[in-house]
């Protein structure tokens, strides 16, 4: 064949154009629309949301893209719909969604896209909308069937069902251990920080100096502040018995009012109501560093013999405890703020770490009803440790054997959150 001849060259060019055209037509016909498309109201939510589900297709690769089209219920033509999302065809699977496995509406290998309000989408509960999904690859586009769905709110979030079961189970366990503790003696390990409470109050009494008690940075809505207020009651009872001055500066007025009542009752129970001073609990300010400066000033001027730091703390923890340490006071801290624990451990004589703050009330009162709660917490911890251990073993076995069966158990544990 002599290609230099113009006739042969023209024929070759025509053949090339033919091959490319046929190839493109073939490629377009190979593009398939999303199959088994479903549009449903998003389950377990507050409404104003729809979920689109469709089966994996043969063209699910990074070159192809899915397009989610959304519009009013009256739309019958895909051209009237608005493209609200576009993503590679090998992404957005049901298994990637942050929902528990028992609430999934399709297999994990299916595609899922959740349409929510915002970014050009405005949905109202009770109004129907038209949704479809198109597959795009190059110039080709295959649109799925147009489906309608109506968003509506739900009354229960089944994703959190395991959470509810666990909470109820743990609550039941706590009440069982309380009733058990009423009938039996339960061993309580020593907590040096709480044993030192009497020592600290005794020292303050001997020196004739006051005791400073702080309830932390949070308000009464926080369990750590409630725990701090409960411990204050026990400490106040002993300061009343020893006739030692108690100072409780506050950052929050409601906490101050509650602590005033607790202190008053403690003095009544100790048989020393005449020693109670209304202004032993006083408000300083809600501002973090202004409060810190004021309490540091109190420490330096009044030189309390014992400082108690209970509750939650932030950056002020070291400023408070280091000043207290410089005055030579015996310092006892108790906090659930794990980020501040190193500072307390470094600068205080005794530190109640995390849960010990919540155990303090039981430890100081020695009431069976309180001690029973601690047994419940210990059993709860044993359950969590067992779950962690079993999960670790199963994950290791799954990787070592390549088997898929451990994944079933791991999914179960993974969704226990």
């Amino acid at each position: 064949m002599d290609c230099r001849h113009p006739r042969w060259a023209a024929a070759g060019f025509c053949f090339l154009v033919f091959v490319i055209s046929v190839g493109r037509v073939f490629a377009q016909s190979a593009l398939t629309a999303p199959s088994d498309l479903q549009v449903i109201d998003t389950p377990n939510d507050g409404g104003e949301s729809l979920t689109v589900l469709w089966a994996p297709g043969p063209s699910d690769n990074p070159d192809a893209r899915y397009e989610v089209l959304f519009g009013a219920a009256s739309a019958t033509d895909p051209a009237a719909l608005k493209a609200i999302a576009e993503f590679p065809a090998n992404t957005r699977y049901v298994k990637d969604a942050k929902t528990a496995w028992w609430t999934r509406k399709a297999e994990g290998t299916w595609h899922q896209y959740v349409i929510r309000n915002g970014k050009g989408v405005e949905m109202k509960n009770g109004t129907a909308y038209t949704v479809t999904v198109a597959m795009r690859k190059g110039e080709g586009r295959a649109v799925g069937p147009l489906l309608q769905a109506t968003p509506s709110p739900n009354w229960f979030n089944w994703n959190q069902f395991n959470n509810l079961i666990l909470a109820l189970g743990f609550g039941g366990l706590v009440f069982y251990t309380i009733s058990h503790a009423k009938r039996n003696n339960i061993f309580l390990r020593r907590i040096p920080g709480l044993d030192a409470v009497d020592e600290a109050i005794g020292r303050a009494t001997e020196l004739g100096k006051p005791i400073l008690y702080l309830t932390g940075a949070h308000d009464m809505g926080d369990p750590s502040t409630i725990a701090a207020a409960v411990i204050l009651g026990r400490v106040a009872k002993r300061t009343a018995a020893y006739e030692t001055e108690l100072m409780v500066p506050h950052r929050e007025p409601i906490t101050m009012a509650v602590c005033q009542e607790i202190t008053k009752q403690a003095y009544l129970e100790a048989g020393k109501p005449d020693l109670f001073k209304e202004d032993s609990n006083f408000f300083i300010t809600s501002d973090q560093f202004s409060y810190t400066a004021a309490v540091d000033g109190i420490m330096l001027r009044k030189k309390p013999a014992a400082n108690f730091f209970m509750g939650s703390y932030f950056a002020e923890s070291l400023l408070l405890t280091e000043t207290g340490a410089s005055t030579g006071a015996i310092q006892i801290a108790g906090t659930d703020s794990d980020h501040q624990l190193p500072f307390f451990v470094t600068t205080c004589d005794y530190t109640l770490i995390g849960e010990e703050l919540y155990a303090a009330s039981a430890y100081l009162s020695k009431e069976p009803i309180q001690i029973g709660t601690l047994r419940g917490q210990d059993i709860g911890k044993a359950v969590i440790l067992s779950v962690i251990l079993i999960g670790t073993v199963l994950a290791t076995v799954g990787v070592a054997t390549g088997g898929s069966w451990p994944q079933l158990f791991l999914d179960f544990f993974k969704d226990l959150k």
Binding site: G46, G47, N125, P153, N154, W155, F156, N157, L164, F170, G171, V174, F175, D219, M220, P223, S224, I226, A227, V230, G233, E252, P253, M256, E261, I262, K264, Q265, E269, N281, F282, F283, I284, T285, D287, Q288, F289, S290, A293, G297, A315, L318, L319, E322, A325, D336, D338, F343, T347, E355, L357, Y358, S361, I369, Q370, T373, G376, Q377, K381, I384
Partner: protein, 216 residues
């Protein structure tokens, strides 16, 4: 009276405690509305409680000034500062700037309060140094472990340290990601269980000492 002082608060605590524990599981907008309304109520109660707080503050410092206790001059400064700020706030209608110009209230905030807060925070650096010095004297085995771990982490977290001891970066990451993270998680598990148990005790009236009053 005992009903108003004991039973009624316990009843309110139980009902609201159960209601808002249940609210966590209900995604319906009316549930969200309930939470939002309760939050607003709390803000309003907090506003009224602030009056209690300020009354306490004024009373505390008035007594100090009257008795001329140690540091009573600071109480005078507090009174002066509070009154000047209140006056500046009232004049500026509580705004830090009006028509682009800084008000007296804004000036107090920007050039007095913020620098003072910054100063207090800056002191932290010196306090960390002194606390670290006392802790790292390696008097006990635990303190020695703390010292070694701290030196490795410090070296690994600054470019110069990692340049001098190249291995410190990886070792410090391991200390933070494995040792530190696992201990923190263990503490958090204990804290969470403790907080849940305390919440149960409060909701069902087992723990009542936060109300003041006896055990009846």
């Amino acid at each position: 009276m005992i009903f108003l002082r004991r039973q009624l608060p316990l009843l309110i605590t139980m009902i609201t405690g159960l209601l808002f524990a249940g609210q966590y599981y209900v995604p319906h907008p009316s549930s969200e509305l309930l939470l939002t309304s309760a939050t607003k109520w709390l803000q309003i109660i907090g506003g009224f409680a602030l009056v209690l707080g300020i009354t306490s503050l004024f009373h505390q410092h008035a007594v100090k000034i009257r008795r001329q206790e140690a540091g009573w001059g600071y109480s005078l400064v507090l009174y002066a500062g509070m009154l000047v700020t209140l006056a500046a706030g009232a004049l500026a209608k509580g705004k830090e700037s009006l028509d682009g110009a800084m008000t007296g209230f804004g000036w107090v905030y920007s050039f007095m309060l913020v620098p003072l807060q910054g100063t207090m925070f800056a002191i932290l650096a010196f306090f960390i140094a002194s606390a670290a010095y006392r802790s790292f004297r390696a008097r006990s085995r635990e303190a020695a472990v703390l010292l070694v771990a701290a030196v490795i982490v410090m070296m690994g977290r600054v470019p110069l340290g990692e340049y001098l001891i190249p291995l410190s970066g990886d070792v410090s990451q391991w200390i933070l990601n494995v040792l530190n993270a696992s201990v923190r998680r263990a503490i958090l598990i204990g804290v969470s269980l403790g907080a849940i148990a305390l919440s149960f005790k409060i909701i069902f009236g087992v723990e009542r000492s936060y109300l003041g009053g006896g055990k009846e």
